[in-house]
Symmetry: C2
Subunit: 142 residues, 2 copies
């Protein structure tokens, strides 16, 4: 069950287990898609009407710092949060602001090999994000 999965992720992270964190964890795992804070708020406040907006941002930030989720920036400048931890890149639709995960191990390897050959002076690489911008059809909105 998603609730148990969420709870165990929290336990492993070392974060205090609170109802708010469980609710947001559950929302992230259920929604799956790259949710905005606002969408998460809508989802979560159905059952937890008093959950404050600031708390949502606090919790999402805490999850980011523990590596449970990752921030993804959209074309339209709103932060979205990604629960997928497996290495992947993103397809950005520039019309509907939808982001789709793009898994491609071959591509990952290609890039990794490429940059390990290169030596970027004065720059140590932490991660490489490939934004594939284009047009997703049919459009999805959330």
């Amino acid at each position: 069950m998603i609730k148990d999965k969420g709870r165990s992720i929290l336990t492993e992270s070392g974060l205090k287990i609170t109802p708010q964190r469980i609710a947001i964890m559950e929302a992230l795992l259920t929604i799956k898609d790259h949710s905005t804070a606002e969408f998460i708020k809508e989802y979560v406040t159905k059952n937890n009407p008093n959950l404050a907006t600031g708390t949502i941002y606090n919790i999402l930030e805490a999850f980011c710092q523990k590596g449970i989720i990752k921030k993804v920036k959209t074309e339209k400048d709103i932060m979205r949060y990604d629960v997928e931890t497996k290495s992947h890149n993103h397809l950005y639709c520039d019309e509907c602001d939808y982001i789709k995960n793009y898994f491609d191990e071959e591509l990952d390897r290609l890039l990794k090999d490429y940059f390990s050959k290169k030596n970027l002076s004065n720059f140590s690489i932490k991660e490489i994000n490939l934004q594939i911008v284009g047009n997703y059809s049919p459009h999805k909105n959330n």
Copy 2:
């Protein structure tokens, strides 16, 4: 001269030539780096103290639509504007919020070839942006 270059870019674009547009064009060409709207404002208002903030955004937006410049978002979520039109990717420093252009034709070719082989279903690629996030040293701030 930069002023002439700016003016001729404007003429080619078909945009009306106004003192404000010339000033911003000149600023972009002089600063070169990925400027924030605020930095451009500071630069431009030295000689044009009445240039309104909204006008700067309008003009930058107009330039973007004509393809003269491109928007680039930083790690800290502030919009920056890039005058470089040659194909390139970006090095993002996650500490000093500096963005450096990264030119690499071999990489461009590699990616282009890779995705022309692939067939992403329901998605037509317009452009591929590689964000190379890491640590730029020494740090630059602006």
